[in-house]
Subunit: 132 residues, 2 copies
């Protein structure tokens, strides 16, 4: 057995992966994370499991195609789990995995940042548009 700690392995991972490099797989993962719907879906699951229809209602404006697609991608990447209850009609619940819960604070931070600083961004835009 190797004697590296979890912390050491994390440090190693940070050296091995660099999103600034074009070929790095983190580029693709970054694309998944920096997705408008992904951020909203993860934020919507912050308070526990939710059904497909609940998510669709909560995240106003998302098409069911994009919602399903986003949920699949996040499930594949291990960020959320999908639980099917075989009733009629079928019931499907989505829930953040431990890995997804580790990501949650970051995603909430983006959403909150946008909501909190919207005014200052509006001011900046007004200045920019006036200046040109």
């Amino acid at each position: 057995m190797v004697t590296t700690t979890a912390g050491q392995r994390r440090e190693q991972a940070k050296r091995d992966y660099d999103a600034f490099l074009a070929g790095c797989p983190t580029r693709e993962l970054l694309s998944t994370l920096t997705d408008k719907w992904a951020a909203l879906v993860i934020a919507a699951l912050a308070d526990g499991p939710h059904r497909h229809s609940e998510l669709a209602r909560r995240i106003a404006g998302v098409s069911q195609k994009m919602l399903t697609q986003t949920l699949r991608t996040l499930e594949r990447d291990g960020l959320l789990s999908r639980a099917v209850t075989a009733s009629v009609p079928v019931r499907v619940d989505y829930e953040l995995t431990p890995l997804g819960r580790e990501l949650l604070p970051v995603m909430l931070a983006i959403k909150t940042w946008a909501e909190t600083h919207m005014d200052r961004v509006f001011q900046a835009r007004a200045r920019f548009d006036a200046g040109s």
Copy 2:
């Protein structure tokens, strides 16, 4: 003069804006923030001002079209500033504004998260792909 504090106004903003709502302007801002290149550009400017060409080199694989486009959007939203030095040839430096520096930790967090948890995501994908 109104007697609300900055803290109170921030609280107000969080109530007024909700990215879960379709018509909310934060949706659009969220789209800007959750952009692969935007995250990388802001991360690349973490250690101070950089020239256009330096950014292009640092963020491997970005086309100059996308780099310029991303820089313009971020400049318009007040996240970074553009300084032109009228020499021959022209020199242009980009630097995070105070607003951009407030966003920096969040963006770095995403990039770091991706780099740190890539392995676990790979494992999750292997499990998912095997199961189906």
